[in-house]
């Protein structure tokens, strides 16, 4: 199946300050160019976990991409999700998973894959890089794959923002020290390089300065995470709970909702 435009899937550029709900409401417009732009923004944030969920449900790459498009067009941007939110006041992640589960159930019952509506203005996806990345979740339940990918996509956006902010502030070395000492060892499950080695590699005078750099970037990371999670909850008060809920799910190996 031919794919048309590529969408730039990555973190938000900061132009959208409102929560996801306002974003979704903005997408429900007759202005095609605005609809396409907002749809791209929504898909960019949320399509990866939906895609991984669908792959774990047994859909192949093309089917999963079509279903992602259909789900966002019909359910996320339709009235259903907003109405569900009004009723439940639940977290967006949980709501999305519930709606997705109901959507795939209805698709199975219909026994046909939903197709992209021709000329609908939807943005095409390119899952060529994501498909192999979902392979480690081949033993996970669909709900687990959804949550793991949700958390990973969130972390990717946070890390991208953090790096961009550091470089913009003239703290490129700060970022690299934080990446090498903190992020890399976790991501690669490897031993962290010593502060002395990092000082030598990056031309940093001593361990005290390096420690200060790491703490500075960690604060940026925390702020960026809170900012991104704020988009997914109803209020600032729920940010911490959402992060802890995600951590509990990931630590327990469960799927959560």
């Amino acid at each position: 199946m031919a794919r048309h435009d590529r969408t730039s899937i990555g973190g938000p550029k900061g132009a959208f300050q409102s929560t996801h709900w306002s974003l979704i409401v903005r997408a429900r417009t007759d202005d095609e160019s605005q609809r396409r732009e907002v749809m791209g923004e929504i898909l960019g944030r949320y399509w990866k976990p939906v895609y991984c969920y669908l792959r774990r449900k047994g859909y192949n790459n093309d089917e999963a991409q079509d279903l992602v498009q259909g789900f966002f067009e019909e359910i996320v941007l339709g009235r259903n999700l907003v109405e569900m939110a009004d009723r439940t006041k639940g977290r967006f992640r949980a709501l999305l998973l519930l709606a997705l589960d109901r959507y795939t159930t209805s698709v199975r019952r219909a026994q046909t894959a939903r197709k992209r509506a021709p000329g609908s203005g939807l943005v095409s996806l390119d899952a060529s890089e994501l498909a192999p990345a979902c392979e480690p979740y081949s033993q996970a339940t669909p709900e687990q794959a959804f949550t793991y990918t949700w958390a990973a996509a969130l972390l990717d956006r946070v890390l991208a923002d953090c790096e961009r902010e550091c470089r913009a502030a003239g703290q490129a070395v700060h970022w690299e020290v934080f990446r090498d000492r903190v992020i890399g060892p976790i991501r690669d499950d490897a031993e962290a390089p010593s502060l002395a080695a990092l000082c030598a590699a990056h031309g940093i005078p001593n361990a005290v300065v390096a420690s200060n750099m790491i703490v500075t970037v960690k604060r940026r990371f925390q702020a960026a995470l809170a900012r991104h999670v704020r988009h997914m909850v109803h209020s600032q008060a729920e940010v911490k709970a959402e992060i802890q809920d995600l951590m509990a799910i990931l630590s327990g190996g469960g799927a959560g909702s």
Binding site: E129, A151, D156, I183, V215, K218, Q222
Partner: protein, 171 residues
């Protein structure tokens, strides 16, 4: 950015990455412990041209530290044969470091090392290098000993120093 995406990482590693942003007390404790271990393992910086070096922060040459260049801090602090002047200098240095931050892991670890210098002098050299009373010093050490981020070698040193303080208070 050439960094790899985190999509595909297992849940345990994702949780650890997410925990960095959670700013929970446990996470801050871990950061404090990491910084403490890193400082103890690192050489004392004696180059006055370096940012945050001992001479730079104390605004004096610190000649007494020059023979120790390249030695890890833990070796210097826990050496019974160390020059008392060196331990005093390190005490002053970490006090100066702690004054640069208002709280958080860097402040906590600098305070711990400030007391480590005082405790080392008391236990290993029999010298009291602080104007704190034995009572006040004992209270501070008793508080630090209970910190979850305190590394074992300092915990042992503080416990010994606390015993010395108690003994001196009762004599």
């Amino acid at each position: 950015m050439a960094d790899a995406s985190t999509v595909g990482l297992g849940p345990e590693r994702l949780a650890r990455l997410l925990a960095l942003g959670a700013n929970t007390p446990g996470q801050e404790d871990k950061t404090t412990a990491d910084i403490l271990r890193a400082w103890l393992a690192s050489p004392v910086s004696v180059n006055p041209a370096e940012e945050c070096s001992v001479p730079a922060l104390l605004h004096r040459p610190c000649k007494e530290l020059e023979p120790l260049a390249g030695k890890p801090l833990s070796t210097v602090l826990l050496d019974p044969a160390a020059d008392p002047a060196v331990i005093v200098t390190l005490k002053d240095y970490f006090k100066a470091i702690s004054l640069r931050w208002k709280g958080g892991p860097l402040y906590s670890s600098a305070v711990a090392l400030y007391y480590a210098a005082i405790a080392a002098a008391l236990v290993l050299q029999g010298c009291k290098i602080t104007s704190h009373s034995y009572y006040g010093l004992g209270r501070s050490l008793a508080t630090l000993v209970k910190k979850p981020w305190l590394v074992p070698e300092l915990a042992a040193l503080f416990a010994q120093a606390l015993a010395v303080c108690v003994a001196r208070m009762t004599t």
